[in-house]
Structures are given as structure tokens and as C-alpha cells.
């Protein structure tokens, strides 16, 4: 069974129709990349999948493990294994990063009917993930994203992803604002988390990230429609030709 199946999805915000009939199927073990210029609807897609209520679904359906994803609250989607690495992670002053992550982790465990981890066990888990991802220890003790640099915020997103171990990770322009070293670290982290039983949807503006996170499929999003799909070589073609050559095609 497909992990995620998007069927003819139409969605928008504040009366504006942005996604115009998206179809996309993601199977376990696959990495899909969505590329497109600014304003093509990339972020709308990620927010709709995560359940943000400021966006509204006009028509279509999304099945996740065969279940109606759109009927679930955002936190229920998280419990079911959907993780969104935000383009702009928000600052939550005064809330300790580790404390927050432990609460989130235990909510997900509760949902799975597993016992909650106590502080000691959780810290052990965190230490292990830190080693895996080259995240600096002091990130853990700081307030959630408060005063973090752009790179630190993105690293923190990937770190959270590593701890929460999602089934479907959606990376929304995780490469934006990263220097080359940070980009490599972040991509490295994502690659280490790749397994046959999980999947990722990588949303990006540039081909650059895809040198490091090699996708199985690439889709081009233009004006709310997927106008072309292909293998990883499509990304290189886009890099060379830009998006304009596809502008004539409204539907793939």
C-alpha cells in the first residue's frame, strides 16, 4: 500500500485558489522532490499535508496509510508519523528545547500505546541522535529556536526529526538560508535517517540540495499543478534550463 496518496487536491488560502488538482503517490522507502519557482504552491502543499487550518482544502482527498488524512487534526497527523521540517521554524521563548522535545516524543509514544520515557532514558536517546547528526550539545539547553541562527534552526528541525522518527518527513525548503557546510550536515542527517519503511517529500527551490539528498522522483510544480515528473536527472535539466521551458505545459 502507498504511504501517501494525493488525489486531485485543490486547496488555497484566504479565498485564493493555489493548488489546482495535485496527484502524487509516495511509497515507503521513496524520496520525492518537489521543485518549482516562488509562488508555485510548494509551501501550501506542505502546510495542507501537515493540517494548518489557515489553509483550506477545496476538493480532492489525501490518503495516508489508506486513511483519510484530511480528517485528522495536526497533532493527530504528527502522532501518525508525519513530520514537517518548517521553512521558518518559529521561536518559542523560555521553553527549553529538550523539555519540549521530550513532551512531543512522549505524546507520540502515548498514541502508540507505549510507555513514556523518563528524563534519563530520553536524554540517552537524545545523546545518541546528537552524535549521529553533529548537532552541538548547547542547542539542547537553549529555549526552543530563540535566538538561533538560520542554520541552527534548520539543524534543530532535522534533530527533532531524528528523535521523533517519522514515517513521512516533509522538508519545506530546508536548504534556504544555509551555507554549504550546514547544507551538507543537514542533508547528511536526512540521508542517515532513510530507511525502507519511511519516506520523504523534499520541497526545494534549487537543485543544489538534491546533490546531497538524491531523490527517487522529481516533480515540477508550476501554478499549483505538477507539470512534469521524472527521475533525479530532471532536477539537473531544470538547473540548466530554468522553469520557463515548462511554462507552456499546464498539466503533465
Amino acid at each position: 500500500m502507498a504511504l501517501l496518496e494525493i488525489r486531485n487536491l485543490n486547496a488555497g488560502i484566504a479565498g485564493k485558489h493555489i493548488l489546482k488538482g495535485i496527484n502524487l503517490t509516495i511509497n515507503p522507502g521513496e524520496v520525492h522532490a518537489i521543485m518549482g519557482p516562488n509562488g508555485s504552491g510548494k509551501s501550501t502543499l506542505s502546510q495542507v499535508l501537515a493540517g494548518r487550518k489557515t489553509f483550506n482544502v477545496i476538493s480532492g482527498e489525501v490518503l495516508y496509510n489508506g486513511k483519510d488524512l484530511l480528517a485528522l487534526e495536526p497533532e493527530e497527523r504528527a502522532h501518525e508519523g508525519i513530520f514537517l521540517a518548517f521553512q521558518y521554524p518559529v521561536e518559542i521563548p523560555g521553553v527549553n528545547n529538550t523539555y519540549f522535545l521530550k513532551a512531543a516524543y512522549n505524546e507520540i509514544r502515548k498514541h502508540r500505546g507505549e510507555p513514556e520515557l523518563d528524563a534519563m532514558d530520553f536524554l540517552a536517546l537524545v545523546k545518541e541522535k546528537i552524535k549521529l547528526l553533529h548537532v552541538s550539545q548547547d542547542l539542547l539547553n537553549r529555549p526552543l529556536n530563540e535566538g538561533f541562527s538560520g542554520g541552527e534552526k534548520k539543524r534543530n528541525e532535522i534533530f527533532q526529526m531524528a528523535v521523533l522518527d517519522p514515517k513521512l518527513a516533509i522538508l519545506d525548503e530546508t536548504d534556504s538560508g544555509l551555507d554549504i557546510d550546514a547544507l551538507r550536515d543537514v542533508a547528511d542527517g536526512v540521508n542517515k535517517l532513510r530507511r525502507p519503511d519511511n519516506a520523504a517529500l523534499v520541497i526545494t527551490h534549487y537543485q543544489r540540495l538534491l546533490n546531497y539528498i538524491v531523490p527517487d522522483f522529481v516533480h515540477v510544480l508550476l501554478n499549483g499543478c505538477i507539470v512534469k515528473s521524472g527521475g533525479k536527472e530532471l532536477a539537473l535539466e531544470l538547473e540548466e534550463k530554468g522553469y520557463d521551458w515548462l511554462a507552456g505545459a499546464t498539466r503533465a
Partner: protein
Amino acid sequence: MSDSEKTIEQFVQSDYKYGFTTDVETDTAPPGLNEDIIRLISRKKNEPEFMLEWRLKAYRHWLTMEEPKWPNVHYPPIDYQSIVYYAAPKARKPGPKSLADVEPAILEMYRKLGISLQEQERLAGVAVDAIMDSVSVGTTLKGQLAEKGIIFCSFTEAIHEHPELIRKWLGSVVPYTDNYFAALNAAVFSDGSFCYIPKGVRCPVELSTYFRINAINTGQFERTLIVADEGAYVSYLEGCTAPMRDENQLHAAVVELVALDNAEIKYSTVQNWYPGDKDGKGGIYNFVTKRGKCAGVNSKISWTQVETGSAITWKYPSCILLGDNSIGEFYSVALTNNCQQADTGTKMIHIGKNTRSTIVSKGISAGRGQNSYRGLVKIMKGATNARNFSQCDSLLIGDKCGAHTFPYIEAHNKTATVEHEASTSKVGEDQIFYLNQRGLSTQDAVSMIVNGFSKEVFKQLPMEFAVEAQKLLGVSLEGSVG
């Protein structure tokens, strides 16, 4: 309205879990206030003549005063003649008050509140003085404290056992002429706590008082007096709850603190009086005067308050920094939800040289709550090198609530340094969504954001109280966001 606004908008009232009443026979005075009632209160308590005189002077002064109109709160006029000024749980038998003599129903009530007196005593954790309606119902751990020369007892007992201390310190920080509600309290207060820490003694346990209004139409007017003698240290906690009633009830307390040379008093409050229902019906009017005097050199007084209850809060725990090098601190979290109103803050009066004060105020407004910070920093002529730092932050949840700041600074000495920082922020839909996306319910998300905002103040609370306060904030906002 957009969905995001709706998300933040959907406030519902959480249940007030302390809203039970306790069926205890009470000895009650008729409603109304006149000299006869004051004589009755004084007689009931077998007070010495000097107390009656003091009360009557206060009453006569009160008659010449007017209720303050300057706070940024609104309520219908209070009919002072309809209030009962004395209500005491009837004693089963006369004689000295030990825990064994306390009415079982009262002990049960305190158990419901989460403070078992016996347990407290056994675990040697906290010494508790519990005050229901107007009378102190039992002070725990008295024996242990007495060994160190610490006096911790009800005010009435202190008047009988230690009249010289009461004569010396009563009204020395908050005189009965101070303000309308302080004068009223001086005239009719029926009990409270008294604490004296002798020279050089560090009080080994947290002292604590639990206040409870139980009887209907009753005002609660308690008085707390704490004196820390030279080099002494004490940490004192107070907690407050009341049953749910449709009528408003008046609570006009006075707290006086005195710190002599090198003494330190830490005073923490978790105030959770019944706030009224979601339409603003009922609830406690909490009109309280709290003031500490750093009378000696190098003395320190620190106020920490977490205010989540009451329909209306009007209180300004203050410090008079008289002794050279003395330190005053004020850490406050005030939350108003539904129709609650709070006008709260502090006064730091710098008189001595090198005096320092710190003010950290965190106001949280939700529902239609109105939250005002009002603070005065006054540097007198002789206060060379005085320093103050103030930080006032407001957090808004939804768009029907309000946050207001009224800082006053008066500096009469050129060497003074006064800093004031202020901020206002909103709990953002983006913050809630971020936490939702990580698996937290909206409820938990708001609670986490609010607790993060209040962190600097919670750090000042004793450990068990900090945990309690965090939970309380969560409960007070329960269902506040849909």
C-alpha cells in the same frame, strides 16, 4: 473571522476545582459594620484593650476615607453594610488548639486542597498555618520551630502570647491610615499569621499559610506580620482558594514584613481565589496591601507572586529600602482569563544608599481579561547609587483581552540608575501550529508557551510551588484555545 483567529478565540471556562463548600457550623456576626461589631470581634477574641483601641481608631479613620477610584478595574459599588465581618468555624470543644481538636470536616477540606496538615507535620516539609474564613484552624510544626526560638502562630495567639511584639510591629509598615482597604482591615481583621525569626536564625523549613473563604457573604480580612531579626532568614508561602459562589466576596488582607540588619525574607504567593464564571458572575475581590520594610543594612525582601484567581485583583507588594545596601525584589505572573481584571505591580522606595531593586512582571491576558501593571520606582534624595531594573512583559491570547502598563519613575538623586524594559507579544497561531505539528494538543501548546513566558518568575519559587504554579497556569487556561 479567519480560522486562525477562531483557533485562538475559542475560549471556554475550565472548572474551578476548589469550588466546593465545607459544611461546618460557624459562629457568625450579623452583617454590617459599626463600632459594636468591632467591639464584638475584639471581645470574641479576648483581645487586650490596646487592640480594641487600635481597631476603633482605624474604623473612625476609615469612615473619613473614600474607596480608591484610580485602579484600572471596574465593578459595581460594594455595600459594606451587607458583608459579614466575622465568621468562625465553631469549636467542638474549648481548649488549646492542637490538630486533634480541629473539626474533621475542616481537615477533610484541607485534604481536598492537597494539604494534609498531619502529613505536612509528619513529613517535616512545610509548617502550615491554615486560615478558614477568618480564623486560624491549626498551626503545624510549632514545637520544632519553638526549639529554635521561631514564633509561628495565628495572629490572635500572638496578641495573647507576644503582645510586646505585636505592639511594637503592628502597623509599623502598613499603618491603618495607609489606604481605604488597609484601614478597613485594621478595624475588622479577625486573624492571620504571625512569624518572628530571632537573631541569627535561619528558619529550617518553608513556612506556609493556606487561606480559605468558606462561609457565604463573608469578607476575609486577615493580617500577616513577619519580623526577621538581625541576620535571620525565612521563606514564607501563602496559597488561597475559595468556593464558587454567585455573589462577589471581598478579601482585604494586609501583609507587613520587617527585615532588620542582614536579614532576608522571601515571600511567595500562589493566589487562586475563585475568579467568577465565564460571564464574570461571582468571584473574589482581592484588594490587598502588602509591603515590606528593609529596615536594616544589607537586608533583603523578595516578593514572588503567581496570581491566577480572583474576579478583581488590586495589589502592589512593595519594598521600602531604608537600610543601606538593602535589596528589594518583585517577581510576578498575573493571569486574567474570561472577565477577570487585575491591576497589580509594585512600589520600590529607595531611601538608603546603594539600595537595589529588581522588578520582573509577566502579565498574561486571555478571554476578555484585562491586565494592568502599575509600578512606582522612587529614588529619594539620600539614596546615593541606587539602582533599579524593571522588566514588564505582556502576553496576549486572543483579541478581546487587554494589557496595560503604568510605570512611574521618580528619581531625586543624580547618581541613581533606573532601567525599564517592556514588551507585548501575542501567542501566535504559528507557534501553536508548530507545537501541534510535533504532536502536542493545542491545550498543551498554549500551556507550554505561557509557562515559557513565565519562566523567569517560576525560577524564584520554591521547587514544589513552582510545579504547582505551572499546573495552575495550565488549568486556568484550560480549554482556552479550541
